[in-house]
């Protein structure tokens, strides 16, 4: 079974939806939709996730194209950052007028 087939159900492929709420800031994961192709996925995403003015731009990505870390990897991937507080830029004062930091 190919990757594409695994992602397909009777309702179509599964797509992850990313919504940008304002120009210039990152697209944020909002959820997922079913659709048979990218064009329809964008329309479904528009109808499901931006009906209350949540967005100005949309991305859709086939769910099976996303590679994720596993729970078993979590310890080695993320725990080493626990005791490295010096990596936080909290010792700096943020200049006035800087947005989205």
């Amino acid at each position: 079974m190919s990757e594409e087939e695994k992602n397909e159900s009777e309702q179509g492929l599964l797509w992850e939806v990313f919504v940008q709420s304002k120009p210039g800031i990152p697209h944020k994961h909002a959820g997922s939709v079913h659709a048979h192709d990218a064009e329809m996925a964008l329309k479904a995403a528009r109808d499901v996730y931006t009906r209350r003015k949540e967005g100005v731009s949309l991305w859709v990505v086939p769910t099976n194209m996303i590679h994720a870390t596993t729970e078993e990897e979590a310890e080695s991937f993320f725990d080493p950052a626990d005791d490295k507080a010096y990596r936080h830029p909290t010792f700096y004062t943020i200049p006035e007028g800087v947005k989205y930091l």
Binding site: H34, M40, A44, D47
Partner: protein, 253 residues
Amino acid sequence: MTKEEALYEYLIRLGDNALILGQRLGEWCGAAHQLESDIAMTNVALDLVGQARMLLTEAGEVEGKGRSEDDLAFHRNEFEFRNNLLVEMANGDFGQTITRQFFFDCFYFHFLQALKSSKSEFLQAFAMKSIKEVTYHRELSTDFMIRLGDGTEESHEKMQYAVNLLWEYTGELFEKTEADEILIAEGIVPDLTQIKSLWEQDVMAVLEKATLLIPDNKGYMASGSRKGHHSEYLGYILAEMQYLPRMMPDAKW
């Protein structure tokens, strides 16, 4: 017929189309084959009901008898409604709903494009606002037409059935009355004959992509709504839509 009477008739015609199609699409709420389509159909329904509110409010003002949008929506009977037969047709399966929507969207899109240059301030503003909504509606129904028509054997069969079923209700979209003649002369509304050729180009191109054929019904087209003659469906739609406000006339939300 005075200019005001003509304008009232025209506003009612537009308002009723939006209202009845909106009510029909609302029937999909919680009933479509997937959440995505359910929300898509009800989004379109809400756009249309919003348009109906503007149109019927304006109609009430033009009429000058103090009737509100609610009076016009909930306290008229079938023969006073002027919506096209097409929009009151049953939802049927999703393919029938999409085909009905596609035929209507293509008409409405070109109609509103032309209405943007209306000499009526209200209709011009209405067209400017609504065209954005209807542009999306038309893209959505066109996408579905092509994908379902040129899809599986089963989806193709269902779409061809829907086209055969609904084709005879499309001619009526372009029928003109005395109100049309008066308002066209004043530059207030577009000539539906011109909209018809734009509609035909649009529809033919999409049906071809969707591998669907126009039924050969020897040019027969159903007619009647301009005079208030409707199909059996409208009474049931109104019964459901008007039940509450008629049972409880003082109900407010």
